[in-house]
C-alpha cells in the first residue's frame, strides 16, 4: 500500500476529499453571508437555519409532491429564496439603519424559531434523503475510491461560486449591486429601486444557503440542528477571510475544509476545533483577516 507522510494513501486522499466536500459547503455558505453583508450590512445569523430549511425542502418536495432530486435542486432554493424575500420585507426592512447588532439579534431569534418549528414537526433526529440514482456508486481512481455524489457536490459548488462571482463582477445587475453597496443614496438618486435590490440580494443569499442544503441532503442526515453545527465554523471562515471579497470567502471556505481533512488524518481529536485555532492564529498575526480591510 502506498504511504504518504507515514499514512496510507487511501486514508489521506479520502479525508482530503471529505475536507474538500465540507469546504464546498463552507464556501457556499460564507459566500451567501458575504453577499448579504455587503448590501444589508448585517450578518444573517439564520443562514445555518435556512441551509437546514433548504435540506428539508428537498425532502418535503419528494414526500408531499413526489418531486425528485433534480427539480428540487431548482425548486427548493426558489421556494426558500421567496421565503427569504418575505423575511427581508417584513422583519429586516423596519430595522434598516439601526445598529447592525439588531439585525444579528433578530436573525438569531429567527434561527431559533425555524429550528424549533422543524424540531416539533420532524423530531431532533431528523429524516433521510437518498442519493439520486444517476449519482450512486463509487469510482476506483487507483489511489482511492471516489463516491460519485461527493464529486458532484464539489463540482456543483465550484460552478455555483463561479456563477455568483460572474453575476456580481461581470453583469449590469452586479454592477448596480456593487454600486449600491458603496453608496445606496446615489444609486437611489440615479433611479434604481434600491429597496427592491436589497430584497433581491437577501433572497439570493438565502437561496444560496438553501441550494447548499439541497446538495447536503443526500450526504448527511437531514435534521433541524444541521445548520447550527455549520454556522460557528462558517463564522470562523468569515472572520479569517473577511467579507470584503467574494473570492476571499470562497477560497477560505475550501481552505478550511482541506485543513480540517488533514487534521482528521494526523490528529483526529483536533479536527472539530482546528477551524477555530486557525481563526485565533489569523487574529494574532493578521487581525484584519487574510483578505479583509479592517472594519
Amino acid at each position: 500500500m502506498m504511504m504518504i507522510f507515514g499514512k496510507p494513501a487511501p486514508l489521506l486522499f479520502g479525508q482530503l476529499l471529505l475536507g474538500i466536500v465540507n469546504g464546498s459547503f463552507y464556501a457556499m455558505l460564507s459566500l451567501g453571508l458575504a453577499v448579504i453583508f455587503g448590501i444589508l450590512n448585517i450578518i444573517n445569523f439564520a443562514h445555518g437555519a435556512l441551509f437546514m430549511v433548504g435540506a428539508f425542502s428537498a425532502y418535503l418536495l419528494l414526500h408531499w409532491f413526489g418531486i425528485g432530486y433534480w427539480p428540487a435542486l431548482v425548486l427548493g432554493p426558489l421556494a426558500v429564496g421567496l421565503f427569504g424575500a418575505a423575511i427581508e420585507r417584513v422583519l429586516l426592512r423596519p430595522i434598516r439603519g439601526l445598529d447592525p447588532l439588531y439585525g444579528l439579534l433578530l436573525t438569531f431569534g429567527l434561527a431559533e424559531v425555524l429550528e424549533g418549528v422543524f424540531t416539533n414537526r420532524f423530531g431532533s433526529s431528523g429524516v433521510t434523503y437518498s442519493v439520486p440514482r444517476l449519482l450512486r456508486g463509487t469510482r476506483d481512481l487507483g489511489f482511492m475510491y471516489l463516491p460519485n455524489y461527493h464529486a458532484f457536490v464539489v463540482v456543483a459548488a465550484i460552478v455555483v461560486c463561479l456563477a455568483t462571482w460572474l453575476v456580481i463582477e461581470k453583469t449590469r445587475l452586479g454592477a448596480v449591486l456593487r454600486a449600491a453597496t458603496e453608496n445606496p443614496a446615489i444609486v437611489q438618486a440615479l433611479g434604481i429601486d434600491v429597496p427592491r435590490l436589497v430584497t433581491l440580494t437577501f433572497a439570493g443569499g438565502v437561496a444560496l444557503a438553501a441550494l447548499a442544503g439541497v446538495l447536503a441532503a443526500p450526504m448527511y442526515s437531514v435534521n433541524p440542528g444541521m445548520g447550527s453545527s455549520y454556522i460557528s465554523i462558517v463564522f470562523a471562515v468569515v472572520v479569517i477571510g473577511g467579507m470584503g471579497s467574494i473570492g476571499g470567502a470562497v477560497f477560505t471556505g475550501f481552505l478550511l475544509g482541506v485543513v480540517e481533512g488533514f487534521t482528521k488524518v494526523f490528529y483526529p481529536p483536533g479536527a472539530a476545533t482546528v477551524a477555530f485555532v486557525v481563526m485565533v492564529l489569523v487574529l494574532l498575526l493578521r487581525p484584519a483577516g487574510l483578505f479583509g480591510r479592517s472594519r
Binding site: 438569531f108 431569534g109 424559531v113 425555524l114 416539533n120 476545533t273 485555532v277 487574529l283
Partner: protein, 310 residues
C-alpha cells in the same frame, strides 16, 4: 448604599423586599436560579449595555464557572464560597483570553469571534475528563457557608444565594457609576472621541470583558450549587442565547433590566418546560418582537413611561 438614590433606591428597596418575601410564596429553587442568572445578566449588561459590545459566547464563562465550582465543591471538598470564587476566577481567566482575541475586531466580527471561541470551549469541556462528558458533575454538595451553616436545605441555601446576589448587584452598580464606568459609556457613544481624549480604549474594553466574564463564572458556580448539577448545557450556544435574551428583554443599559429579564427567562424555562421545543420557538419569537418593537426592554420601557432613571 453604594450611592443609590432616588427612584433607583426605591426600586432597590422593593427588590430587597421581594427577595425576602419570595421564598414564602414561590418555589425557592426557582428564585435562586433566577438570582444566579441575574448575576450573569448583570455582568453581560456591563458589556452590551454600557460598552456596546455583543458577546455571543458568554455560555463559555458561565458553563466553565459551573464546572470549576462543581469540581472544587465535589472533588476538592472546598466550601461554597471558595467554589464560587474559583468559578469566578476561571470565568475571568478564560474571559481574558477570549476578550484579548475578540477586541482585535469590531462590531459584528467581535460577536462572531466570541461565538467561535465559545464553541472551542464547549469542545474542550466535551473532551476534558473532569467534566464527566454527557453525565456532567453531580450531585454537587452545597457544603457549609463560612464553614458553619449547612446549606443542604433549600431554605438555608436561599439566604446564601440572596446575599451573594445582593453583593454582586451592589458591586456592579458601583462599577457602572465609577469613573471607569463613565469611560465605558463614552466608548459606547463614540469610540474615536474616547481615543482622541487619550483613553486606552482597548484596555477598557478588555477589563470590561474580563469583569463581565467573571460575573458569568460566578453566576455559573452559584447556579451549579443551587441545582447540584453542572452539565454540557451550560456551555452550549443556546445558553449564550438565553443570556443575551435576558438583557435584551429586561432592557440593556438599565440597572434593573437584567434582573427582570433573568426572572422572566428563567420563569419561561421553568414553567413552560412541558412545551418542549416550542419554548425555543417562543424564545426566538420574543427575540424578534424585542428587536422590532421593544428595543428598550421591559425596564427601559417602564423608565421611559415614568420618566425615571432605573
Amino acid at each position: 448604599m453604594a450611592g443609590l438614590a432616588g427612584a433607583r433606591l426605591a426600586a432597590f428597596l422593593i427588590l430587597l423586599a421581594l427577595i425576602v418575601a419570595a421564598p414564602f410564596v414561590v418555589y425557592p429553587v426557582f428564585v435562586m436560579q433566577a438570582m444566579s442568572f441575574a448575576l450573569v445578566a448583570l455582568g453581560f449588561n456591563l458589556l452590551l449595555g454600557y460598552v456596546g459590545l455583543l458577546s455571543l459566547g458568554h455560555a463559555a464563562f458561565f458553563g466553565l464557572g459551573a464546572y470549576v465550582g462543581a469540581f472544587c465543591a465535589k472533588s476538592l471538598g472546598s466550601g461554597p464560597e471558595l467554589a464560587i470564587l474559583a468559578g469566578t476566577a476561571s470565568g475571568a481567566a478564560v474571559g481574558l483570553v477570549v476578550g484579548f482575541l475578540a477586541i482585535r475586531r469590531q462590531g459584528i466580527y467581535f460577536a462572531m469571534i466570541t461565538l467561535a471561541l465559545a464553541e472551542m470551549v464547549r469542545f474542550f469541556c466535551l473532551e476534558a475528563p473532569f467534566t464527566h462528558g454527557e453525565d456532567g458533575i453531580q450531585p454537587i454538595p452545597r457544603g457549609r457557608a463560612l464553614g458553619a451553616l449547612a446549606l443542604h436545605h433549600d431554605f438555608a441555601m436561599y439566604w446564601f444565594v440572596a446575599v451573594a446576589f445582593v453583593l454582586g448587584f451592589l458591586l456592579l452598580y458601583r462599577i457602572i457609576h465609577s469613573p471607569f464606568g463613565q469611560v465605558l459609556k463614552a466608548i459606547r457613544e463614540s469610540e474615536t472621541r474616547a481615543i482622541s481624549l487619550g483613553y486606552r480604549v482597548e484596555s477598557y474594553k478588555l477589563l470590561a470583558f474580563v469583569l463581565s466574564a467573571g460575573f458569568a463564572g460566578a453566576g455559573g458556580a452559584l447556579e451549579a450549587l443551587v441545582t447540584r448539577i453542572a452539565t454540557l448545557s451550560g456551555v452550549d450556544a443556546a445558553m449564550s442565547a438565553q443570556i443575551v435574551l435576558m438583557v435584551l428583554l429586561g432592557g440593556m443599559g438599565t440597572v434593573f433590566g437584567p434582573v427582570v429579564g433573568a426572572l422572566i427567562v428563567v420563569a419561561m424555562q421553568t414553567y413552560l418546560a412541558t412545551l418542549g421545543s416550542w419554548v425555543s420557538v417562543i424564545q426566538g419569537g420574543i427575540f424578534i418582537v424585542c428587536v422590532l418593537a421593544f428595543r428598550r426592554g421591559v425596564v427601559g420601557e417602564i423608565a421611559a413611561r415614568l420618566r425615571l432613571a432605573l
